[in-house]
């Protein structure tokens, strides 16, 4: 039975990490009703940030986190004001933003290939601790535990922000209804810009742990990560950042079980889950409302 227990506990650790992978996408969708198709590419940039911090300066990849947060704030803020207000005034903001972020993802991917080369790279797992961590009789690499711990901390921080701060209340008001938030005197653009940048930073944070959780990293990993994130977010329900934790856990446990018992079919899983969920319950496991027409 060791195999099953390993898959289940590993799945929880893995799933918590994937909750962090998806949560930034969900935050941006919740506030702006836009799907950030460049999400996976931001995670890729985060992963390369961790890689370079380790390889250039020999520091722990964790030092990449503050650097990336600063970087994403510097880039994300102007990007928001350049792109989003303009998009919101178009004929079909949802579809056009989808296409625009897709273009952005191509620009990031191409620049990363030009800048970093097309090779796979990795960070030694010993940089986040040696040996093994024992959980309920199963041993896991320390990096997994650290990644899961940071994910939980980041999601708790997001929860605290959304539910226990003034800005957070305003953010949830914008999520509920942009127009009504506007009439209530909330500075919708400022709230949205903060959420936009926070979504970027969460992607970068997930990226720092990507070399440990996903093995090798390369500039082309973004598209797959975007699809997986989207699957996780939809499983949990779009627009509800906390549902993403459930989505991540479902995904993590399912992928671990697949890799244990049916390894050759496991790469089908995220896509399959995604299709099944959107067809059966497009609003996600926690969703209340269903879109019509």
């Amino acid at each position: 039975m060791g195999l099953l227990e390993y898959a289940l506990i590993g799945g929880v650790l893995y799933g918590l990490f994937f909750a962090l992978v998806g949560v930034g996408l969900n935050l941006i969708f919740g506030v702006m009703r836009m799907i950030n198709l460049a999400h996976g590419d931001l995670i890729m940039l985060g992963a390369f940030g961790a890689y370079w911090v380790f390889h250039l300066w020999g520091l722990s990849p964790l030092f990449g986190i503050p650097l990336e947060v600063v970087g994403f704030i510097v880039v994300g803020m102007p990007l928001y004001y350049l792109v989003v207000p303009r998009l919101l005034h178009t004929r079909d903001p949802e579809m056009l933003s989808f296409i625009l972020f897709f273009g952005l993802s191509q620009v990031i991917e191409a620049s990363a290939v030009l800048g970093f080369g097309n090779n796979q790279r990795s960070v030694p797992t010993s940089t986040l601790g040696r040996g093994a961590v024992n959980i309920l009789g199963q041993s896991f690499p320390p990096a997994w535990v650290v990644a899961a711990g940071v994910s939980v901390a980041a999601i708790l921080a997001l929860y605290a922000y959304l539910y226990h701060s003034r800005f957070g209340y305003a953010t949830r008001a914008v999520m509920a209804s942009r127009e009504e938030a506007l009439t209530a005197g909330i500075n919708v653009h400022r709230i949205s810009a903060v959420a936009f940048v926070a979504g970027f930073c969460l992607a970068g944070l997930a990226g720092v742990f990507a070399p440990y959780m996903l093995g090798a990293i390369d500039p082309n990993m973004g598209v797959d990560l975007t699809t997986v994130s989207f699957a996780i977010v939809v499983i949990g329900s779009l627009g509800d950042p906390l549902g993403t934790v459930i989505g991540g856990l479902v995904y993590g446990i399912a992928i671990m079980l697949m890799q244990t018992y049916l390894p050759s079919w496991s790469n089908l899983l995220p896509y399959f889950l995604l299709i099944v969920i959107v067809l059966i319950k497009p609003s996600g496991l926690l969703g209340r409302t269903v879109r019509h027409a």
Binding site: L96, F98, Q106, V107, L274
Partner: protein, 307 residues
């Protein structure tokens, strides 16, 4: 403004027919012309779905791959001659389209991503080593026994004209008008008596069929291909970019977009694909922000109603 008519449609068809029919006589690079023609047809097929119904099939390549593999299976296992096998590939893509039809219940981005996921599922099934006895798994398909570059070129030429003809039909017919109404406001269209489900279904299946046929004839033309090469997301992406660039919902737009951008790709993209990716990524961002209706809207601003 008069609605553009069948006459202009005939002119576009004639131009395409003459262009891709005559250029090979004095320009030797058949593989470039073949790929360009394939992308014009794919862009036109995608336009039938996206331009007329607003459903963006991000996994459009799934139909292309289904067509290529359907054709290959018909040749390898049923020993069909190549041309009926290409039709068989088209039918397989059509069946895939019927299977995916429930996705049309979703809207906007949900549909696009679910469709992308569906094409990935198909890719992983085809490339799965457990199915090597059927699809050759990741090891690829060889159709060298039926290799016929000139005949397959001619068949693609016919498919291109059919796809463009379908777009002309949608642009000028009552059905096309109904689809535009659905696209702009589904609820009002339905109240006005437009059959929503039927209209979307026709456009969707037509679009799937075009991609399947193009995929089939592509597989036949190159005669050696791998799952990665016929299921690569790049095919969907190119078709989408070409349509957006030219102008979705028009007949000329996708043709102009595909010819111009594929030409550009051929000059700079094949040796250094990253530069091309950078350019078209920036192009998409620019288009959405400044020219969301594509090149066609430039003409429309001057008062010409582009076909």
């Amino acid at each position: 403004m008069r609605r553009p008519g069948v006459l202009q449609g005939g002119a576009v068809l004639a131009l395409l027919a003459l262009g891709f029919g005559l250029v090979p006589l004095f320009y030797g690079n058949q593989s470039l012309l073949f790929s360009m023609m394939a992308y014009v047809a794919l862009a036109q097929g995608l336009n039938v779905a996206y331009g007329f119904t607003g459903y963006l099939p991000f996994g459009y390549v799934g139909f292309f791959g289904a067509g290529a593999y359907g054709t290959a299976l018909a040749i390898t296992f049923l020993h069909w001659p190549a041309v009926p096998a290409v039709l068989g590939g088209g039918v397989l893509a059509l069946i895939f389209g019927v299977v995916l039809a429930p996705l049309l219940r979703l809207s906007g981005a949900y549909f696009a991503i679910a469709n992308l996921a569906a094409s990935q599922v198909l890719y992983y099934v085809v490339a799965n080593p457990n199915l090597t006895s059927v699809t050759q798994g990741p090891y690829g398909i060889k159709l060298t026994s039926v290799f016929a570059p000139n005949l397959s070129y001619a068949v693609l030429w016919v498919i291109l004209l059919l796809a463009t003809g379908a777009a002309v039909y949608l642009r000028t017919s009552r059905l096309g008008l109904a689809l535009r109404a659905i696209n702009q406001d589904p609820v009002s269209a339905e109240m006005a008596g437009v059959n929503l489900v039927r209209g979307r279904m026709v456009a969707w299946l037509l679009s799937a069929l075009v991609a399947g046929l193009v995929g089939g004839v592509y597989g036949w033309h190159v005669s050696v291909f791998y799952p990665q090469s016929v299921f690569t997301l790049r095919i969907s992406i190119f078709a989408i970019v070409f349509v957006l660039f030219g102008g979705a919902g028009t007949v000329i737009g996708p043709v102009v977009g595909a010819v111009l951008l594929y030409g550009l790709y051929d000059v700079i993209g094949i040796s250094t694909p990253e530069y091309f990716q950078l350019i078209y990524g920036a192009l998409i961002v620019g288009l959405v922000l400044f020219l969301p209706e594509g090149l066609a809207s430039l003409a429309r601003r001057r008062g010409w109603d582009v076909l």
